[in-house]
């Protein structure tokens, strides 16, 4: 039975302590962020200065809050007053506490003792205690941004839990950039009572979350984590970034969170056994989580690469071939024959299916539907789109537009990009197979009509073929791990 974190992520109302008129203080910022991002429940500000902050009346004490309206208390007050605050909050029906305030175990022997007292008091009062020394909690289904930093990410299906607050922010920034949103995010802080695995277990049962994305720096009881996280993996994919993989990183982790390192190769083995998807960089981790959140699970490892031109296909063929979990299979005879009928004779006659340039009309959507519909194809990587949109942008922004008869061609190019992205999403959904569209334009020209259309289709436009292949590898591995368990 996992810890019920519903009051943390879906509180009826929220109380913030440590609110002052100083807009640089945690209490002010937390209150501001809660009031700014769309939370609809009642919000109560507690502070020492009477008056209003951000148009919100400041109450002198939690005792002044009405009973049974707030489930969540966010603590931004110093160590010395927080135990009394916990007692008052419990009396008002608060169920969960996020302690953003520091000064606890990260700060020395006195802090360690204070943290232990806080944790045992919370347990006695029946309160969920998150933190202390954590950045906060975000829950997009209820518009909650109870954190001391930005950003507030778009709503989506990725649940983030992290042993570092800054990495939460990094991942939320990526969510904002790509449009692939987040359901919940939380930084565990010092994890006095509630640790990473508690969050992961709750996310596994959360109807708003399809994939967990977590940053791990240290596991005091790795065995217990293993025994529990393998059950989480059975419910939802868990993408992991592990800090401290090298001796240099381990020294840094020891000073950051006091984590003592096991041999990283043991973590690697544990991750494989538990079905965790370990990514080597935060970009790769976000790509993987975004793929789980937006693409169907593939049935097998066979990848077909579609490209409008050669170089991209060659690079992707290398990446797929080098990946231990993916296969760049030969095209089945009947698929080959169907493609051959559809395409001009210059096509590559192989996987990658290379159109060898020049395709601007309906060939690409037709090909996507054809290949996705073939039973031997498990997933598709589509490359070489965005060219028409890029040409359109240069034309549209040049000195000859809109004269010289350029409007129709610009419109056509932009419309086609939209058609390609839509076809990729439709063929993927219709056949329940991943179709990953990759283009450097995702960051080089995020306003490219292909990129915006992929985004509008609810999918990630991958930055490169290599990143798409790496993300697909995690999805294929996870699907195989799940099949192996049944």
């Amino acid at each position: 039975m996992s810890l019920d974190l519903t009051p943390l992520f879906e509180p009826r109302g929220v109380i913030v302590t440590g609110v002052s008129s100083h807009p640089g203080k945690f209490g002010f910022v937390t209150l501001h962020n809660i009031l700014t991002c769309g939370f609809e429940g009642p919000v109560f500000a507690i502070g020492r200065e009477a008056g209003t902050v951000l148009d919100q009346p400041v109450l002198a004490s939690v005792d002044d809050v009405p009973a049974e309206v707030a489930d969540l208390l966010v603590i931004c007050t110093p160590v010395s007053v927080n135990e009394q605050i916990l007692v008052s909050a419990a009396a008002k029906g608060v169920k969960a506490v996020f302690v953003a305030a520091g000064g606890y175990s990260e700060s020395g022997p006195e802090g360690i003792a204070a943290e232990a007292r806080l944790a045992s008091l919370a347990a006695r009062l029946g309160l969920v205690l998150a933190g202390p020394n954590g950045q906060g909690v975000v829950s997009t289904p209820v518009g909650l941004c109870a954190q001391i930093v930005a950003p507030y990410p778009p709503r989506g299906r990725i649940g983030v839990a992290s042993q570092s607050g800054n990495l939460v922010s990094a991942l939320l920034n990526m969510a904002e950039q790509t449009g692939i949103g987040v359901s919940r995010s939380v930084s565990a802080g010092n994890a006095a009572s509630t640790s990473l695995i508690d969050y992961l277990e709750w996310l596994a049962d959360d109807p708003e979350t399809d994939v967990a994305l977590c940053y791990i720096e240290g596991l005091p009881d790795g065995r217990a984590f293993f025994e529990r996280v393998r059950h989480v993996s059975a419910e939802i994919p868990v993408v992991v970034i592990k800090g401290g993989a090298t001796s240099g990183g381990q020294r840094a982790a020891a000073s950051h969170t006091g984590s003592l390192a096991s041999d990283d190769r043991i973590f690697t083995g544990m991750a494989r056994q538990a079905g965790l998807l370990r990514a080597s960089t935060i970009e790769a981790a976000f790509d993987a989580a975004a793929t789980f959140a937006t693409q169907p699970l593939p049935q097998g490892e066979n990848v077909v690469v579609l490209t409008t031109a050669g170089g991209w296909g060659v690079i992707a063929a290398d990446a797929v071939t080098a990946h231990p979990d993916l296969t760049l299979g030969a095209l089945s005879d009947n698929l080959f024959a169907s493609i051959d009928e559809m395409l001009p004779p210059r096509w590559s006659r192989n996987n990658p299916v290379d159109l060898a340039g020049g395709e601007t009309r309906e060939t690409i959507p037709d090909l996507l539907h054809l290949v996705a519909g073939h039973p031997d194809v498990d997933s598709i990587i589509q490359l070489g789109l965005g060219i028409q949109g890029n040409t359109a942008a240069l034309t549209r922004n040049g000195p000859f537009y809109p004269d010289h008869g350029l409007e129709r061609i610009v419109d056509f190019h932009e419309r086609q990009e939209n058609l390609y992205a839509t076809a990729a999403a439709e063929a993927s959904t219709a056949n329940s197979k991943p179709i990953l569209v990759a283009s450097e334009l995702a960051t080089a020209r995020p306003d490219n009509p292909l990129v915006t259309a992929v985004r509008d289709s609810g999918r990630l436009c991958y930055n490169s073929a290599d990143r798409a292949v790496a993300a697909l590898g995690h999805v294929v591995r996870y699907a195989a791990w799940r099949r192996g368990r049944t």
């Binding site: 596991l219 005091p220 009881d221 790795g222 065995r223 293993f226 003592l260 096991s262 041999d263 190769r265 043991i266 973590f267 690697t268 083995g269 544990m270 494989r272 056994q273 192996g484």
Partner: protein, 215 residues
């Protein structure tokens, strides 16, 4: 750190299901020569005792002995090299196993993750190659096969210099046997080094069981 002698270590791992090279112990050179003749030449002769953990470094291993006379001479030398610190010693004679490939395998107890089975590429290049992987116990056959598959140097596990590919089922048996020893709390670690691949099958030609501190 307390260890079992090689002979006791061999008994422990063989009982668990690890295939070890043919072997016998003897108290004196004549007995060692008899056992060698019974096992068949060539043999290795080693000085064996619970206090002796680093036999090779101390020159306590004689390899490739091909006759009764060679075994007797080696055994005499081994007994003479024993020091009072070695405690009770005996002579261990074992069949020479031929094979071009060496693996290492073992059981370790990690402070955080608990008992784990380890598999790695062995031999003289082992440290440079540093190809080692772990799985947590209990180890099922799927885990064992996945552990084998996660070594980077897969080419070494295929057909190699006229030898057949490594029998992955047999190697999985060895790994599962090591994993089963995790239940024995008196064992801190087990080291099979080397595990020689002979005609495709892994055979441990040395074994070291390290004992947990008595508490």
């Amino acid at each position: 750190m307390a260890t079992f002698s090689e002979s006791d270590s061999r008994r422990v791992v063989a009982t668990a299901g690890v295939v070890v090279s043919g072997w016998a112990v003897a108290p004196d050179p004549a007995g060692a020569a008899d056992e060698a003749a019974r096992l068949g030449f060539p043999v290795a002769a080693k000085l064996c005792g619970p206090e002796i953990a680093h036999k090779t470094e101390r020159g306590l291993v004689h390899l490739g002995l091909t006759s009764v006379a060679e075994v007797e001479a080696a055994a005499t030398e081994l007994l003479a090299a024993a020091t009072p610190g070695d405690g009770d010693v005996e002579l261990l004679v074992s069949t020479m196993v031929s094979g071009n490939r060496e693996l290492i395998a073992g059981l370790v107890r990690d402070e955080s993750f608990g008992p784990c089975v380890m598999l790695g590429i062995g031999g003289v290049l082992a440290e440079a190659v540093a190809d080692v992987a772990f799985r947590l116990t209990p180890l099922d056959r799927g885990d064992a096969h996945d552990l084998i598959a996660s070594l980077r140097t897969q080419a070494l596990l295929g057909t190699f210099r006229g030898e057949p590919a490594v029998d992955r089922e047999a190697l999985a048996d060895t790994l599962c046997a090591l994993g089963s020893l995790a239940h024995d709390q008196t064992i801190r670690s087990v080291d099979l080094n080397p595990l020689i691949i002979s005609d495709g099958r892994p055979i441990a030609v040395d074994a070291l069981v390290e004992l947990a501190d008595a508490t």
